[in-house]
């Protein structure tokens, strides 16, 4: 009797496990297959292609080992353009990361007040985030127009009483990248702001109450309570903004095409134009590989910094 009662139970457990096996495979199959085909295989292909000289138009390709890497990294003729582009990416990050993070904190603090109708303001601060970068670039190209019909030139002209001459915002080396950065900050800061705001709202009120009992002023509270509590959020924001800076492409393609004198060229711009304009997929892929290595390095640094924090706690 006991044995007959046991047998079906064991069978059903086994059957249920078998069913999960099939359901698991079937349910995961569509997405897994697509991730394999459209992410993992391309990712591996980037490495493979970087060892070849590939021309899509003629279907011609031949193996050339590390030649593409030598050309983009070490060749005195062809490597300066790539190094300049990489330098521009980091210069852009150097402008955008501190400004955008600082501004995001300031805006988040503004929105973290207990005021009626604060959601109304939040709606506007966040609005540029939903705009495609292509449209942002089109609008700002009028702001940056080099004659007096440009919004910024017109603004400076009228507040200085005509003393400031029109500036070629996007055509002056040394200024063009900063102009692109300003536009990108406007378009992107709402994103970081929302993340910081979420971080602010998780800080327990008791910490502030304790601080004010200790007679800490607003600024001291910000330094002693707010900033340390936001540490993880801010590490995340800084990392993600740095990665955004490395991905810089749309605004460059639309507004400056990498100019003037390559001062706004970026790694992605070089990589895409190598593939599209020069019909050199191998070169573009080699740049992609360098790009990926940098992204991975940054992510590893992020993990290390965050782990350190956990150990301290």
């Amino acid at each position: 009797m006991a044995s007959t009662a046991k047998a079906p139970m064991g069978k059903s457990r086994k059957k249920r496990f078998g069913y999960d096996q099939w359901a698991g495979i079937l349910m995961s199959l569509p997405a897994s297959l697509m991730l394999l085909l459209f992410v993992i295989i391309p990712f591996v292909t980037a490495f493979v292609l970087s060892f070849y000289n590939v021309h899509l138009s003629s279907g011609h390709s031949n193996f050339m080992g590390f030649e593409q890497y030598r050309r983009i990294l070490f060749d005195p003729e062809t490597s300066p353009a790539f190094w300049q582009a990489l330098g521009n990416n980091f210069q852009f990050a150097l402008i955008v990361v501190p400004l955008q993070t600082g501004l995001a904190i300031a805006l988040a603090l503004l929105l973290n007040q207990k005021l009626k109708g604060i959601a109304f303001f939040r709606t506007f601060f966040f609005m540029p985030v939903v705009f495609p970068m292509s449209l942002v670039a089109v609008i700002w190209s009028l702001f940056y127009s080099r004659d007096l019909r440009g919004m910024f030139n017109s603004l400076l002209h009228s507040i200085s009483g005509g003393a400031i001459n029109p500036i070629d915002w996007l055509g002056t080396p040394g200024l063009a990248l900063a102009s692109i950065a300003l536009m990108s900050i406007w378009a992107g800061v709402g994103f970081q702001m929302v993340i910081v705001l979420a971080g602010l709202q998780e800080i327990p009120m008791e910490l502030y109450e304790a601080a004010s009992l200790d007679k800490a002023g607003k600024w001291q509270q910000f330094r002693a309570v707010t900033l340390p509590s936001l540490r993880n959020t801010l590490v995340f924001v800084v990392i993600i903004t740095t990665i955004f800076s490395l991905r810089l492409f749309d605004q460059i393609f639309i507004l400056t095409s990498g100019g003037p004198l390559g001062t706004t060229s970026t790694v992605m711009y070089q990589s895409v134009t190598a593939a599209l304009t020069d019909d050199n997929v191998g070169k573009g892929s080699a740049m992609t590989v360098v790009f990926v290595i940098i992204i991975i390095a940054i992510t590893v640094v992020q993990r290390l910094v965050l782990r350190q924090e956990k150990e301290i706690k």
Binding site: V138, S154, F236, D250, S271
Partner: protein
């Protein structure tokens, strides 16, 4: 008695003073918030006002902010400027963007949530390997695979297929679903399983209805990314016939003779659906973006 009333008056005065101070402080806050709002809204106002101005008055410095001589001409010009095989048709750009976006959003909701469910709640061999890959792929930005993908999809150039198929499955969406699913209490699911419901029934009848917030978040995030997508369409599309809206606007913008009025009207029509959805669901938009960052 006397001292008491003095104290009362003092008290009332202090109360009133505190109230006034708070009012002044609030007014200052509102003033500052409004000023910042103006700065943030200025480029959007410029776009909106410019789209209704005569085409030679759009690019006019600060004058671009002044709404005068308003006309609907730019909007009719958008349809007139795109009315042939060479330029493409404006309605076609819209249709292209809608098809690509719908395929990415709905295809993505189905396949990514199913994978996440299989990873979070089912036991099967291979699960840990795939979970490991998903976690690794989350950090990989699309830019890292754009060039090789351009090579691999060479045969599908100038198709809508090439514009949506690489974006349907998304490690990031899987990750968002996964973290939500493992955060849900599994009691109801376990109970249903004991009552004999299979994994498919649990998924469709219990998990999906319980997970509206994460479905909403993924919908919003993938909708934004798909509708605004630029890099890959730029690489894959030469023909005006399959251009999505942002690419079509950029091609038009880069022409030598710029008709700013028409460009701005195009821009407004491009952002209009996003704005309608954003203004109706702005709380969800902001929550989705915030939740997308909570990881690591």
């Amino acid at each position: 008695m006397r001292t008491n009333s003095v104290a009362q008056i003092d008290n009332r005065q202090a109360h009133r003073r505190r109230k006034t101070r708070k009012l002044v402080k609030n007014l200052a806050s509102y003033g500052f918030l409004s000023l910042v709002t103006l700065i943030f809204f200025a480029p959007i106002a410029y776009l909106l006002i410019g789209s209704f101005k005569p085409k030679n008055e759009v690019l006019s410095g600060l004058g671009g902010f002044i709404p005068e001589h308003l006309t609907l001409e730019n909007y009719s010009n958008v349809f007139k400027a795109f009315d042939g095989e060479a330029t493409g048709y404006f309605y076609k750009f819209y249709v292209n963007s809608i098809i690509v976006t719908v395929a990415i959003v709905f295809g993505g909701l189905v396949v990514n949530s199913m994978l996440a469910y299989a990873l979070a709640r089912l036991r099967w061999t291979g699960r840990n390997v795939i979970l490991g890959f998903v976690v690794l792929l989350v950090i990989l930005p699309f830019e890292a695979i754009a060039v090789p993908l351009y090579d691999l999809l060479n045969d599908y150039r100038n198709t809508l297929f090439a514009q949506y198929i690489p974006f349907v499955a998304s490690a990031f969406s899987v990750f968002l679903f996964y973290t939500f699913f493992i955060g849900l209490s599994s009691e109801i699911q376990e109970a249903a399983r004991i009552d004999g419901a299979g994994p498919w029934r649990v998924y469709f009848q219990i998990l999906v209805p319980m997970s509206r917030p994460v479905f909403a978040s993924v919908t919003i995030l993938s909708f934004l990314a798909a509708w605004n997508s630029f890099l890959f369409p730029l690489m894959m599309v030469d023909s005006a016939d399959v251009r999505p809206l942002p690419l079509a606007m950029t091609v038009f913008f880069q022409q030598q003779q710029k008709d700013w009025g028409t460009i701005f009207a195009f821009g407004v029509l491009l952002i209009l659906p996003v704005m309608i959805v954003y203004l109706s669901f702005q709380r969800f938009f902001i929550q989705s973006v915030a939740s997308s960052a909570v990881k690591g």
